[in-house]
Amino acid sequence: MVEAKLDVTKYDPRKLGLRVGLEIHQQLDTKHKLFCSCPTKLVEQPPEKPAFARRLRPTRSELGEVDIAALFEWRKGRVYEYYAPDECSCLVEADEEPPHSLNRDALVIGLSIALALNAKPVDEVHVMRKIVIDGSNTTGFQRTAIIALGGYIELPSGKKVRIQTIAIEEDAARKVDERGNSVRFLLDRMGVPLIEISTAPDIETPEEAYETAFIIGQLMRLTGKVKRGIGTIRQDLNVSIKGGVKTEIKGVQRLDLLPKVVLYEAIRQARLLEIREELRKRGISPQDVERESKIVDVTEIFKNTKCRIIKRALSRGGRVYAVKLPGFHGLLGVEVQPGRRFGTELADYARFWGGVGGIFHSDELPGYGISEEELSKVFEVVGARKGVDAVVIVADEPKAARKALEAVIERAKMAIIGIPKETRAALPDGTTKFMRPQPGAARMYPETDIPPVEITDDILAEANKLKPVHPLVKLKELKTKYGLSEQLAQQLLRHVHLDFYEYLAEKYGDKVAPTYIASIFINILRNLEREGVPVENLSENHIEDVVRALAQRKITKDVVPQVLEFLAKNPTKNVEEAIKALGIGAISLEEVEKLVEEAVEALKEEIMSRGMAALSKVMGRVMPVLRGKIEGRVVAEIVKKKISELLEKHR
């Protein structure tokens, strides 16, 4: 029997035969979008109203195949509304004008990364249309082009991870919200160039997945031509274990989550295989499910139910249906990922195919207001045996409820056969949820509006100039150019903000010591994080503002951690507001001199008798007022000066 509770420590990914391939998407920092002349900037706020609304019709291939997920959306009358900010979208994003030629800068940056990955550029780039009918592209497809094939990276262990393809593609529109039948998108991001790097499934542990993504990310950042910040890099994965299937997982935005997502997917597949074993042991076949799982209207049983969800469904004219899953007793409650049960997987299918809110299953009942008595009656009516079979209940509009239960039956049958091929979405806790069945072969056809681009020696020469340096070369540069210690340089080299550091060191290095700027990333932010300060709220703008304030002597080094902590906790505030709130405004030299003069005057007698030895006494008097506003070193200079002046006068 499979333990219902999941113990993640029991699973060793290596022993499971884990195989992972990564697809890394990184926005390029070009002036213009990939196929039009709009800037690659995002707006803070969408415009007041959407500019237009569209429907997307599933296209049919020669063989009559349609995209199932898209077809469902279309049948539901799904409408996509688009906000079109004038400053960063034009007729091209609105799909009201053909695309312009491929942005050459993006191509060159992409090729430079390809060369650094030891890949082989293609001889001629052909832009394709990849069908994507979720509204995130106004055209209903994403324009994408392979620019290089092959290549590899080397992990610290010496292991090589092969690169399969490197493509340049357009980013999708940003989803703003979803209400009723309409999904709203913002067009600012649509068309921003992305590089997509796909690795072979050579990765065998969650840690290797992290290392691979990290190294590729670092290499891209070393070009200095990619965008930074949250949302500018996204990882998709495909994960399989021995006996499992290649599952696609979309949209991991945080690198540190990657190992967890990999591990949890490996475990999910292992758990599903355990469930299959158990079912086979119990002698259940797909034919048994096919024969015995009949959808029965059980509305009568729930006429006076206390279950609020069912009551609401009934008041809206819905009905209650139940189905028996023969031999499934206990298995719907089995955790496949932390907090996700096999029943959750069934519910995902019910939601996707039936559009229902959810399901009830017998492993969680009685509960949710459904009584023991009601449950027993349902068991009786569907012909299920307690302790042997499981029962799934759906309350909704009849057509939707039936479709939902049909999907549940299908999913239950698959559980006996193996693991279905799915595309899943990554959740913030590292688990994943079902998004859609995996589409068949990529639906791609040529973008005939864009002429192919031959990769000439000129383009390759430009790409070579941009090719990121080897990390060891960069290490030496950090040490010599900015005077960083070996240790600090090493740490910075591995830091995701390396290029941002270089930017700050270049811009403010003459006023703020580059070693100090480095320590902000390596020490200060890490310490704050350890103390539980939400440093992930700090944007690059916040950090640059703090460094600029240092350069302008608006704040001193000793208050930098305080200011960063304040900004992390109040991300909508700026440095000026932090200074005010913390009462640490810098002070003018004249004011300091005045304060010191007053102190010297007050301590005149002691100074006269002890001379320079009284310095610490004077400092002790002024520093409580000046701390954070001016560096102690500067104050000491002034005190020294004032003391000598006094001594001079009275000599």
Binding site: A51, F52, A53, R54, R55, L56, R57, P58, T59, R60, S61, E62, L63, G64, E65, V66, I68, A70, L71, W74, R75, G77, V79, L91, A94, D95, E96, E97, P98, K120, V122, D123, E124, V125, H126, M128, R129, K130, I131, I133, T138, T139, G140, F141, T144, A145, I146, L149, T165, A167, A441, A442, R443, M444, Y445, P446, T448, P451, P452, E454
Partner: protein, 449 residues
């Protein structure tokens, strides 16, 4: 180079090929057509992941065929899932209006062969109903492909063929006719049909697409849906162009064929009525037609009267500063029977052209003046040049679009033998192409705040 290699290997488009370059690198993929001829030594293949790439070849490159196109398609078909209809419900049985869709070009429906990337037009009634099943709920659909040309290649002889075909279907009792047409010259054809059907019992609807039908965002299905709805249900019996009304998939507009003009190179709502409001707003999803103007003819009010035939020797000449009078002389010498001038402002051309124009009129050429302004009416009494042109025998084209005046003159010259009759007809409103009154609301204003 590329062609020679492929010929040597016996490779055809759609075959799976292996290319071994002289540096030893190997590429495998399906051979794709090259849109820009064989000018460069590059072979385009589709990789197994669906992407196309170009592979540079030289005389040391080796190409070999691994699998033929037929084999690939056969294998793909064997593994293909069952065809899933777009709409599960079947249209209710019972009598429905009968609508015929006549194809002249452009792709209202098409299929993509993902194996090779080819886009194939689909036009049988079955294919249309598969691609746009909504139309089956409105009408009994029949279809015919008359010809399949790019609309820039349209010619007056083809207008005549379309008129004959449409007339045949109306005689057979169809309740409406849809003509699928490329958008570039659709307005000319619409005007031609409008003049040719002097008596019309049912609507004739021209329709096209600004985004090709192979893409999910195509406007083709929406426009076709709106066009069939118009043909089947509209209360008027006029020749109209039905296309998107705005960038949204909300409503379409039915424009009078003699008043419509393509005003944008690429937008869905490129078609606009000039000097007139559109005739109707069509809401396909809501199954609703909102008539905006008083129809000239109601459905089933008139008998069918066809006056087919268009004079070929008619020219549409746009005046530009410094235009040489030789251009007019040339047309006269070549036996042209009609010239529509697209003059400046109220209807002017450089006065040095007047002697040539006078000579044209004296030789029996009908010269009609329209305006490059498009909006507004020509008035040749206000300025001296206008009065001189009138004196030279130029016929003022009122508020007709230059293109409409051109089509009308071609039609009138073929229908009437008497030149004076032609001149009179050119100034007479026949099917809504001329209006005596313009109200303030029929001129667009830009969104400048």
């Amino acid at each position: 180079m590329a062609r020679k290699l492929l010929e040597k290997a016996g490779a055809k488009i759609g075959d799976l090929v292996r290319i071994v370059k002289s540096d030893g690198s190997v590429y495998e993929g399906i051979l794709m057509p090259r849109y820009m001829a064989f000018s460069k030594p590059i072979i385009v293949i589709k990789l197994s992941n669906g992407y196309n790439i170009g592979v540079r070849v030289d005389d040391k490159t080796v190409v070999e065929v691994l699998k033929t196109r037929e084999q690939i398609l056969r294998e793909a078909a064997a593994g293909a899932p069952a065809v899933i209809p777009l709409i599960e419900e079947k249209p209710p049985s019972g009598p429905k209006p009968r609508v015929v869709i006549v194809g002249t070009g452009g792709t209202i429906a098409s299929r993509i062969e993902y194996e090779t990337g080819a886009v194939k037009p689909a036009f049988s009634a079955k294919e249309l109903l598969e691609a746009v099943p909504e139309i089956g709920f409105i009408a009994e659909i029949e279809s015919e492909v008359l010809f399949n040309i790019l609309s820039e290649n349209m010619r007056p002889e083809m207008w005549e063929k379309i008129v004959d075909s449409v007339a045949k279907y109306i005689q057979e009792g169809f309740d409406g006719v849809v003509v699928a047409h490329g958008t570039d010259t659709m307005a000319y054809t619409a005007a031609a049909l409008a003049f040719a059907f002097q008596g019309l019992p049912v609507p004739i609807v021209l329709v096209g697409a600004q985004r090709s039908s192979d893409r999910p965002s195509s406007d083709a299905a929406f426009n076709l849906h709106a066009a069939v709805l118009t043909a089947a249900k509209a209360p008027f019996a006029e020749v109209v162009v039905v296309m998107h009304g705005e960038p949204s998939d909300s409503y379409a507009l039915a424009h009078r064929g003699v008043r419509v003009r393509k005003m944008h190179t690429s937008r869905r709502d490129a078609f606009q009525s000039i000097n007139s409001l559109p005739l109707a707003k069509i809401w396909p999803a809501q199954n609703r037609i909102e008539v905006l103007l008083k129809p000239l003819r109601k459905r089933r009010e008139q008998e069918l009267v066809v006056k087919n035939g268009f004079e070929r020797k008619v020219a549409l000449v746009k005046y530009y500063p410094g235009m040489d009078s030789e251009i007019i002389d040339f047309l006269v010498d070549r036996g042209y029977r009609g010239i529509v001038l697209e003059g400046t402002g109220l209807g002017h051309v450089g006065e040095w052209l007047i002697p040539s124009i006078r000579r044209a009129v004296e030789e029996g050429v009908v010269v009609v003046m329209t305006s490059q302004c498009l909006f507004g009416r020509v008035n040749m009494n206000v300025y001296t040049t206008g009065r001189k042109l009138l004196a030279a025998g130029v016929v003022p084209g009122e508020d007709m679009l230059p293109e409409t005046a051109f089509v009308k003159l071609a039609w009138a010259l073929k229908q009437f033998d008497d030149i004076n009759e032609v001149k009179k007809i050119m100034r007479t409103n026949l099917v809504g192409e001329i209006a005596a009154r313009h109200t303030l609301d029929v001129y667009p204003r830009w969104n400048h705040g």
